[in-house]
């Protein structure tokens, strides 16, 4: 955790003119101290970054072969699958990469929810993360439209029609979004343009996310602040190697899907070309949108349904002010733990409700699960902050490991100088 040092004259020459190497060293190197008790759940941030890079690289190559026109889009994707060298591989990586991006990010988010990573002083870090989630959703939605299959078209139509619920301006907004009177060629063209743009916006916001992270460093499974050097280890090599190991494990799962079940998470109806005059029998979004789709359909009123769907993300924005408990980690919150498990189950139930037609039992299940979702964030969390009696916190990260011998020299209160 010392200052950046090198023997290379080239690096010294550059460093003197532009301190890029010491910047990297402070960001992900020896000069970035991280809590020494991070678990494997802390791997998913770097994994999300990896998937973002995979998506951008494969996306740039795919864009060289894709034609954004209603008459050619579907066939150009089939051409990628059949004629382009390794086109099948690149497209399957991109397609499954979207799903894995959401798997990784959802685990990352639930990690933050359990360990209180959204609490002071990391509120802004958390909110920037929610912005990334919203950008990811917009990017994934527009990307799904590009192959111009039946689900692409009708998904686009249903989702853009949500904006017609806006009072007074609804119709005008939808016509503006479409560039016509229905989802058509102008819509496909602008979705392609924005689908190419937004990942780079995500990169910029990820930089802000990491910037905010480095202000106070990572949270940790105990949720208590690091008290001194004995609570920390340098990011490099300890966490770079741990992240690299995580990447290896992740790639095993990713490759298994890409090579052995590439269409498992997709909808077969999307291999039928878009037909604006015939709606498929059952329109469903991709799996990662199903909980939100269930919330949309749980409420019989069109406008209120749309408000509830966006509200389900909005509660995450204000979460740092809803959960007022001073204890971060769920490990020391016996009642919170139970409700956290219930919330995870609730979102899974919402996913199943979103996958099934909104009739009979599934409609009722979706409505109950929607009510529970908002109850959790708006009622239960604020009340827990007042009434829950947390377990005693360890005095330092070292203490539980060293059995009371944790108060080594310097462990008193001298805060670690920020590297």
């Amino acid at each position: 955790m010392s200052e950046f040092q090198t023997n290379s004259r080239v690096i010294k020459w550059i460093e003197h003119r532009m301190p890029v190497f010491s910047f990297l060293d402070h960001s992900v190197g020896r000069s970035f101290p991280a809590p020494k008790n991070l678990s494997y759940l802390w791997n998913f941030g770097s994994l999300a970054g990896l998937v973002l890079v995979i998506m951008i690289v494969t996306g740039i190559v795919l864009a060289m072969q894709y034609t954004a026109h209603v008459d050619y889009a579907f066939n150009s994707v089939e051409r990628i699958m059949r004629d382009v060298n390794y086109g099948w591989l690149i497209r399957y990586i991109h397609m499954n990469g979207a799903s894995f991006f959401f798997i990784v990010v959802y685990i990352h988010i639930f990690r933050g929810l359990y360990y209180g990573s959204y609490k002071a002083p990391r509120e802004l870090l958390w909110m920037i993360g929610v912005v990334i989630l919203l950008l990811m959703m917009a990017t994934a939605f527009m990307g799904y439209v590009l192959p111009w299959g039946q689900m692409s078209f009708w998904g686009a139509k249903v989702i853009t029609n949500l904006f017609s619920a806006v009072p007074f301006f609804g119709e005008g907004i939808v016509t503006w979004l479409w560039g016509g009177f229905t989802v058509d060629n102008p819509t496909l063209n602008r979705f392609f343009s924005l689908h190419y743009l937004l990942p780079f916006i995500i990169v910029a916001v990820v930089v802000l996310h990491i910037w905010a992270l480095h202000q106070f460093g990572s949270n940790n499974p105990l949720g208590i602040d690091t008290k001194g050097p004995q609570d920390k280890i340098p990011f490099h090599p300890y966490y770079t190697v741990k992240d690299a190991f995580g990447v290896g494990v992740f790639l095993i799962f990713f490759a298994a899907m890409v090579f052995y079940a590439p269409n498992y998470m997709g909808d077969p109806v999307n291999y039928v070309q878009a037909d604006p005059l015939a709606t498929p029998a059952h329109i469903v979004p991709e799996w990662y949108f199903l909980p939100f789709y269930a919330i949309l359909r749980a409420i019989p009123d069109k406008l209120l349904g749309v408000i509830a769907m966006f509200g389900s993300i909005a509660v995450l924005f204000i979460l740092p002010w809803l959960d007022r408990s001073p204890v971060k980690s769920g490990r020391f919150r016996p009642i919170f733990r139970i409700f956290f498990v219930l919330l995870v189950i609730d979102t899974v139930v919402l996913g199943f409700a979103g996958a099934n037609p909104p009739e009979g039992t599934w409609l009722l299940v979706g409505q109950i699960a929607t009510a529970w979702y908002f109850l959790h964030f708006l009622i239960i969390l604020p009340l827990l902050g007042v009434f829950e009696r947390p377990k005693p916190l360890p005095t330092s990260i070292s203490e539980p490991v060293l059995k009371g011998g944790g108060s080594m020299a310097g462990a008193t209160t001298t805060p670690m100088e920020k590297a």
Binding site: W154, V158, G179, D184, L277, K302
Partner: protein
């Protein structure tokens, strides 16, 4: 500076500076808005999309009781040559029973020809009922499979999440058996 100036001078100076500050800011905002508008408006329907906005239809081959679908502005338009029974059914409905009250004669120019845009007013699916064998819903008109909206023989919403009746496009009869939509 503020320490040495008399209160009166400081006051007038600050007022003028505030005014310049606000005026420059306002002009900047107007300028940004003026430049942004062409970019925003370029995303609205273009001239060639608007030029496609009328469709001619020959009604003579359509038998009584038959329904056909034509395309207008990229959307399906349902043309229904209604039977006397269907017309009476539509006219007999009390307006109080309708979520979006509209009399049948306000929705047609000639009672035997019902012309509506075939896009569900809920979230934009195409309702079933145009082809033989398809479900026409509980009211003999159309049925939207996406979220279960039922329309009657006048294309009015009767049951389900859709808030409005199937819209009637602007059209006129150019002869006894031909119309122009749009």
């Amino acid at each position: 500076m503020a320490d040495t100036a008399t209160p009166a001078q400081a006051g007038s100076g600050e007022t003028r500076r505030d005014f310049l500050y606000l005026a420059a800011g306002a002009m900047g905002a107007v300028g940004v808005g003026a430049v942004a508008w062409p970019l925003i408006d370029s995303m609205n329907p273009s001239a060639e999309v608007l030029a496609l906005a009328s469709t001619e239809v020959d009604l003579s081959p359509i038998e009584v009781g038959q329904r056909i679908t034509v395309t207008w502005r990229g959307n399906p338009v349902f043309i229904d040559h209604r039977t006397q029974e269907q017309i009476q059914q539509a006219e007999a409905v009390p307006l109080d029973d309708l979520p979006d009250p509209q009399a049948d004669d306000a929705r047609v120019q000639q009672p035997e020809w019902l012309i509506v845009i075939g896009v569900c007013t809920h979230l934009g699916c195409v309702p079933l009922g145009q082809k033989t064998g398809q479900s026409r819903g509980e009211f003999g008109g159309w049925f939207c499979p996406c979220h279960g909206s039922h329309y009657d023989t006048s294309g009015r919403i009767r049951k389900g999440p859709a808030p409005l009746n199937l819209p009637v496009p602007p059209y006129e009869f150019t002869g006894d058996t031909s119309i122009v939509i749009g």
